[in-house]
């Protein structure tokens, strides 16, 4: 009886791998550095854009006031004018056209895929639809001027060969999958119970989709919209090829105009001397674009958090 109290077993000698091996620490630091690298990328972007924009505004012929309010953008010709508004208007008009196409189409497809389509159809249609956003944008640009442009011109004979409508329409097709895939994911995440509740009350599919599932998924859908918006604002090759490329302060999509991105591409193709006004101007334009997309991205993150439903 005296040996009733079992002596604790000596622990096995721990293998050498346990504990703070220096190699382990080293690996962790290495992985951390890789994660921190992404911050360097952002810092690099902000540094370059801000630094060169400051140099741009230091040029004697440029003023911040003219940049923000001027109605002409001709940095490369005499008389030089530095009002960014024509580029911003071109960017916003092409974006608006693209969203008018992509938001309703993408949303309807998303609702259909999530609430109506059979499982097999959804699984096969979704990746094929996503190919639309995988097509290189230069190919879309070619498609816009070789097919869509002439097609629209045969319907509306007065249309110029290059205009924002053509660019916006094609861009809209390109961003449909961003809207449809993300919205579909969001709606599929809505628990079945909510739908069953709705059906039990006698609602039909469409009513359930629009009144129950859609509102429940609104945070994800709003995030999809803002992503589509920032894609459209930053899209380059389609507008550089199809929108006409001449800065033009207008809200009429049937006119030719240049976007911020198209201007940057146009200038980069020429041989501009380093540190000239033209060279610095693309960074000021880039900073404007960066601020716009950052705004959309933050809005998207905010919406996601604001309207997130916890089930």
């Amino acid at each position: 009886m005296s040996a009733a109290v079992a002596r604790p077993v000596d622990p096995l000698p721990l293998p050498a791998t346990v504990g703070a091996r220096p190699v382990e620490r080293l690996l962790e630091v290495g992985l951390l550095l890789a994660a921190v690298f992404s911050i360097f990328v952002t810092a690099g972007i902000v540094y370059v854009l801000v630094y060169d924009s400051i140099l741009f505004f230091r040029q004697p012929q440029v003023t911040v006031r003219e940049f923000l309010t001027g109605r002409e953008w001709t940095p490369l010709f005499e008389p030089q004018q530095f009002g960014i508004m024509p580029l911003v208007s071109g960017t916003l008009v092409t974006t608006a056209v693209a969203l008018v196409v992509a938001m309703p189409v993408g949303t309807i497809i998303a609702i259909w895929l999530s609430e109506f389509a059979p499982h097999r159809v959804r699984e096969s249609v979704k990746p094929v639809l996503e190919l639309l956003s995988a097509v290189p944008t230069v190919v879309y640009g070619y498609f816009a001027i070789s097919f869509v442009g002439p097609g629209l011109q045969s319907i509306f004979p007065g249309l110029p060969a290059f205009n924002m409508l053509i660019a916006g329409l094609v861009m809209g097709v390109m961003i449909v999958p961003y809207v449809s895939s993300l919205s579909e994911d969001a709606m599929r995440a809505v628990p079945m119970i909510l739908r069953e509740g709705s059906y039990a009350m006698g609602a039909n599919r469409l009513t359930t989709a629009l009144r129950v599932v859609f509102p429940a998924a609104i945070s994800g859908i709003a995030a999809a919209y803002t992503l589509a918006m920032s894609r459209a604002v930053g899209e380059t090759m389609i507008v550089a090829i199809a929108a006409g490329g001449k800065p033009n302060l207008t809200i009429d999509p049937t006119e030719a105009a240049a976007t911020i991105t198209a201007y940057i591409v146009q200038v980069s193709q020429g041989d501009l001397p380093h540190r000239s006004v033209g060279y610095e101007s693309i960074f000021a334009a880039g900073l404007t674009l960066f601020v716009m997309t950052l705004g959309f991205n933050l809005l998207g993150a905010f919406l996601r958090r604001r309207f997130r439903q916890v089930y």
């Binding site: 992404s38 911050i39 895929l113 230069v138 097709v173 604002v233 090759m237 880039g286 960066f290």
Partner: protein, 305 residues
């Protein structure tokens, strides 16, 4: 007051109408994709032959080909892949498996999701200011590859994290219970199991990079290149021997830039060249996407946790 049957019938009618609208719009979008491919093939197929692949770009349309942009795209992709894939996987592993939840990792996460939304041309401007002029790398294959690597880094990181998150917690717990260290858990268990998901993300990211035009135009990639970068360990015509990394510093062009250049000369004999280049680009993109879909499908089939 409608009777119940009318209400039900009206609901069914709406359902059916929406079903057709949704299916119709989906078919319409896929139809646009088909039109785009058809247009490319219609305009470009007659130009697409072996000499198109093996000739250099030229100002004479009948002799122009895509050899140098094809090789350029390949070399740039090698640099991009070798940089973005290890960096992206490492960052993903850190954030998913090592990082404690604190303000610092939160900043990194917000930063990565913001980077994913930055337009590609902004990366081009950053590379122009930083890589080309500050680090003096010039408009080289190295600069091009690094630019695209930074561009696709967020995609690789997100794919890695999602693949890791799909692995159930008990796999980690079992390994730790047997005394494995964190790195052993990661390298012996988590990475092998998540390889499929990571590979899908990497392929998608690379196929995105191969189609990118804007950032490479911005850093000043050339449009007409009638030579190839020096092959490693070869000897130049002047008799100098070439080191293993000299190709990194060569000027380059890529397929999308070549296509853009030809598109800009619309209405000339080069229109067909643009379409033919588009066919090659689409073939590459579609192949990579098909591989990615196949990998994803196989992984989903094989693994049952």
């Amino acid at each position: 007051m409608d009777d119940l049957h009318t209400i039900i019938r009206r609901g069914q009618l709406w359902d059916r109408a929406f079903r057709w609208t949704g299916a119709g719009l989906t078919v319409l979008c896929l139809g646009v994709l088909a039109l785009l491919l058809g247009d490319l093939v219609y305009e470009g197929a007659r130009r697409l032959d072996w000499s198109f692949i093996t000739n250099y770009p030229s100002y004479r349309p009948e002799r122009a080909g895509i050899l140098s942009p094809l090789v350029g795209s390949l070399l740039v992709m090698i640099v991009t892949g070798l940089t973005a894939v290890p960096l992206g996987i490492a960052a993903g592993v850190y954030l998913e498996e090592y990082a404690r939840k604190n303000w610092f990792t939160t900043i990194i996460e917000i930063n990565i999701s913001n980077l994913a939304g930055v337009p590609s041309i902004i990366y081009g401007l950053m590379a122009l200011g930083l890589l080309v002029y500050q680090f003096r790398l010039g408009t080289s294959i190295l600069t091009g590859g690094l630019t695209l690597a930074m561009l696709i880094l967020p995609i690789v990181i997100v794919a890695t994290r999602e693949a890791l998150r799909a692995i159930p917690q008990y796999i980690r717990e079992a390994a730790y219970a047997l005394g494995a260290t964190r790195w052993q858990v990661v390298s012996n268990h988590l990475l092998p199991y998540s390889m499929g998901g990571i590979a899908t993300g990497v392929i998608i990211a690379l196929s995105r990079a191969i189609g990118e035009t804007a950032p490479l135009v911005t850093i000043g990639a050339l449009t007409y290149i009638a030579f190839l970068p020096p092959a490693p360990f070869s000897v130049t015509r002047e008799g100098a021997s070439v080191g293993p990394t000299e190709w990194l510093m060569s000027p380059f062009t890529v397929l999308p830039i070549q296509m853009f250049n030809w598109v800009s000369r619309a209405g000339t004999d080069f229109a067909a060249h643009a379409a033919a280049t588009g066919i090659v680009l689409m073939a590459i993109t579609l192949t990579m996407n098909a591989v990615a879909i196949a990998v994803r499908y196989r992984v989903r089939r094989r693994i049952k946790w």
